[in-house]
Amino acid sequence: MTAIALPYARRRHGAALGIGAAIIVAWAVVAAFWPQLVPYEPDLLDPASRFLPPGSAHWLGTDQFGRDTFSRLLAGSRPVLLVAPAATALAVVAGALVGLAAGTYGGVVDEIVMRVLDAVVVFPSIIATVLVVALAGRSVTVMVLVIAASFVPIVARSVRAATLVEREKSYVEAARLRGERSWGLTVREILPNVSSTVIVEATSRFGDAIFAAATLSFLGLGQPPGSPDWGASVSDNRLWLQLAPWTVLAPALAIASLVVGIALVADALRGRWEAGRS
């Protein structure tokens, strides 16, 4: 049955993967080259043309200061695509190491590590962020660290679960019969077989990180107000939602498009992985 089911599944995953990847790559190009792409300076004030609706001069209209929404939209991709990948990478590397260690050593180590992670998870992340920002000030580094810290337990748990499954298989016992010991055995024998879990986790967390970055900026805990960042833009312009809805809709839809693009890739990867396992 799999012989018949698989090509269809492959094709479906293939299309989703292509569309998702295209969206991500497009935004990444924009984030890298927006100074060459924007029609106006994103921070250029033009009091004469405030709240202009979308038109030929300003494709997505202007905001309360007469700044071009389209230009700010393009410029706003950079902070998001800086913070989210950095936070994801940090969370995945740290989470995978913690998960592997907990799964490998088991016993007391496992017990302590998992209880600490539980404690991190139950602490409301917004309150934690407010505290950290109050103490350390607002910066990109703080944003990355805060987001990464909230993701580490999620990654660690699934990597630990995958490690525990692999650890019971007899190829691991065969390695022990050759004299391989815990950590070296984990890296050489188990890690390659949990790497698909790590990759699926990474894509899922990437989507969450985009959302988290936007949320922090919206709450004023990330990018400062006035920045073209999408979350900050939604926050700044929401007072004029009825007068100039485009100023809110444009960055909101941009966040949505990126999150959906990443979700498509994540789903496709997970689907392939599961098809490969069955």
């Binding site: 049955m1 190829y171 016992e173 022990r176 019969l177 004299g179 391989e180 390659p192 077989n193």
Partner: protein, 668 residues
């Protein structure tokens, strides 16, 4: 006509023919066996009886008639009613057929209600049903959940549910696979009694020729979706006219069959997959006597030329009767010429010529000594004070039912078990319980072949990487190609990952890995239990060849006595953590032997089950022993009876009164 009549039944999966024009009849009260390797269409036929072929499958032709009801012509509503009233199917995994969240009684009542009984009648009938499948204390069983029953008891409950229907057709699909030898015998006896009681047509699907021979009146041998031979069970399974069943028999270890006297012959290759059919006889590529006629024309199913009077005997072969002798000779089969289809498969490699009968090994000194070994899991004592000696160049077989502690003992020897009292010494030097704490030289000396070839090779590594790593860390010669060749694997398999290999090839790779450091002892934990009969024969011969070529000792574990008896020089029988008997293989299997061994080899019927838990102070087997002496066996520890030639039995019975196997009862 009553009974089952199958006419020209054909089933296809996605246009690929899986069952091709199969016809046979089964009279009420008769048992018909369907045998063949996996992938030959047995299970597909079994599912077609209830029109329950998998979603991608389609019954493309033929008729199935049960007591004058044309099953394939029924409307969906009538079919559902017919299934409820007249069909009973017992599948392989009993535990999967029972709902784990429901009490046994509730489940059986449900089955009865589906057959039209009202609530009160169903509840009353449950204990009767359980009694019919010989379960003691039906009321207590009915209150239990499936996980509180043993595998054998679960299978009985499934059979009880099948009987709720008063079926006209009973389909048993591998009903005892995965059960211990003694439990298997109980289930078979039960089925044997029930079939006369029921008067239903019974179809038994199994890969186990011995089981089919014991239970069936007639047998149909399936190959690539076609019946290749059909006739009385006694005739087909003792003197087949078609080379395929002949080859199956030659590849099946039976009790009393030892590698030194009767080497197995593996069937090269494997059955064609559905849709892979080429011209001519589908068995021709694996047949030792195939000629041009075989390769061009499909033979017809016609009367076998043996003038059998016991009943119709049909065979689909151009050379019926001639090839049977050729196949059962111990010589290795010639390399098949039409290697066309799958060169990646190397299960077909002929074994090297060392498989000639040869004398017993020279009497080597002790290599490994286990003294007073005890291992506990919580309160359960898995291994209880076991003494065992393995000599150089000797194969020691370890048998016992699941839970007897044989796997714990073997894993402890390998260094994968827990800690506990008792010592293991290798050439007089003590071994640490953990393999990683042993000296590198001791690790090299003891290696292991695992049960499941699908998890024992790292899926991320190529075979070359796996063998190279093993050779490097065990200090053997860095020659993965040589190791693979010795294990009968083609060189191109080296750069493949395990997922591309068949089960037999994987187990060969695992054996090659175990031999990478030129070990002194290889622990084999059920190495062939996950493999098909013909593949199993190939792997057993490989283990035999490697043992002779290298002089390595084996500690060989299996629940299958025939498999252990085939390889082992000496056998130790374990029961509930203790070794109850050990000695030369032939003497242990033939007797006089321990009453428990007698039950295992089938020369003794098992006692009615479940009268004690063996927790008394005496012999552990006392409660289940057919020849126990009350007041003695259950209270005092049995003495060690020395029967000579290092054959010892732990039993109160006088050696002269110990049971032994009746002459001539050699199972196939």
């Amino acid at each position: 006509m009553s009974g089952l009549r199958v006419e020209e039944l054909s089933v296809a999966y996605g246009g690929k023919v899986a069952v091709n024009g199969v016809s046979f009849t089964v009279a009420p009260g008769q048992t018909y066996g369907l045998v063949g390797e996996s992938g030959c269409g047995k299970t597909t036929i079994g599912r077609a009886f209830g029109r329950q072929v998998a979603r991608s499958g389609l019954i493309t032709g033929g008729r199935i008639v049960v007591d004058d009801v044309d099953v394939l012509g029924l409307s969906p509503a009538a079919l559902r009613r017919w299934r409820a009233e007249a069909l009973a199917v017992v599948q392989q995994e009993a535990s999967a057929a029972l709902d784990p969240t429901m009490r046994i009684g509730t489940q059986l009542a449900q089955a009865l209600r589906a057959r039209g009984r009202d609530r009160a009648a169903a509840r009353q009938e449950v204990p009767e049903l359980l009694e019919r499948v010989r379960l003691p204390d039906p009321a207590a069983i009915a209150r239990r959940y499936p996980h509180q029953l043993s595998g054998g008891q679960q299978q009985r409950v499934v059979i009880a549910a099948a009987l709720a229907a008063r079926p006209r057709l009973l389909v048993l699909d591998e009903p005892t696979t995965g059960l211990d030898a003694a439990v298997e015998r109980e289930i078979l006896d039960l089925i044997g009694e029930l079939r006369t009681e029921l008067g239903a047509a019974v179809v038994l699907i199994s890969h186990d020729l011995g089981l089919v021979g014991r239970l069936c009146d007639r047998v149909g041998v399936l190959y690539a979706g076609r019946l290749v031979e059909e006739g009385p069970a006694g005739k087909v399974l003792s003197d087949p006219a078609h080379p395929y069943p002949a080859a199956l028999l030659a590849s099946t270890p039976g009790l009393g069959r030892n590698r030194r006297t009767h080497p197995l012959t593996a069937i090269p290759g494997h059955p064609p997959a559905p849709g892979e059919q080429q011209d001519g006889c589908s068995f021709a590529p694996r047949c030792p006597l195939a000629d041009d006629l075989c390769r061009s024309t499909v033979p017809t199913l016609s009367t076998a030329p043996d003038g059998s009077t016991a009943g119709l005997h049909l065979v689909r072969c151009h050379h019926p009767g001639q090839t049977a002798q050729a196949v059962s000779q111990p010589e290795p089969l010639p390399e098949p010429q039409s290697a066309a289809s799958r060169s990646a498969e190397s299960d077909r490699r002929p074994e090297s010529a060392v498989s000639q009968p040869s004398p017993l090994p020279p009497d080597g000194g002790p290599l490994l000594e286990v003294r007073g070994l005890t291992r506990r899991y919580g309160k359960t004592v898995a291994v209880d004070g076991v003494d065992l000696v393995i000599r150089r160049g000797e194969v020691v077989g370890l048998v016992g039912e699941s839970g007897s502690g044989k796997t714990t003992l073997a894993r402890t020897v390998a260094g994968l078990g827990g800690r506990g009292p008792g010592t293991i010494t290798l050439r007089g030097r003590p071994l640490h319980p953990s393999a990683t704490r042993r000296a590198p030289e001791q690790r090299r000396a003891i290696q292991m072949v695992f049960q499941n070839p699908y998890s024992s090779l790292n899926p991320s590594h190529t075979i070359r990487t796996i063998l190279t790593k093993a050779a490097r860390s065990l200090g053997g010669p860095l020659d993965p190609a040589g190791l693979a060749h010795e294990a009968g694997l083609d060189a191109h398999v080296l750069d493949a990952r395990p997922e591309r290999l068949s089960g037999g090839q994987r187990q060969r790779a695992a054996i090659a890995r175990a031999f990478a450091g030129v070990p002194d002892l290889v622990v084999c934990d059920e190495p062939v239990s996950a493999l098909d009969v013909s593949v199993q024969a190939g792997v057993l011969r490989l283990l035999d060849d490697r043992q002779r070529a290298s002089g390595t000792s084996y500690l060989f574990i299996s629940h299958d006595l025939a498999v252990v008896g085939y390889l082992a020089d000496r056998i130790a029988v374990m029961y509930r953590g203790q070794v109850v008997e050990q000695g030369p293989a032939e003497q242990v299997l033939h007797g006089p032997h321990h009453p428990y061994t007698a039950v295992l080899v089938g020369s003794h019927p098992p006692a009615p089950p479940g009268q004690g838990d063996g927790a008394g102070t005496g012999c552990r087997f006392a409660a289940d022993c057919p020849s126990r002496v009350d007041g003695l066996c259950d209270t005092s520890v049995p003495p060690v009876r020395d029967l000579g030639q290092e054959h010892v039995v732990h039993c109160h019975l006088d050696p002269a009164r110990l049971p032994h196997r009746a002459q001539g009862s050699t199972a196939p």
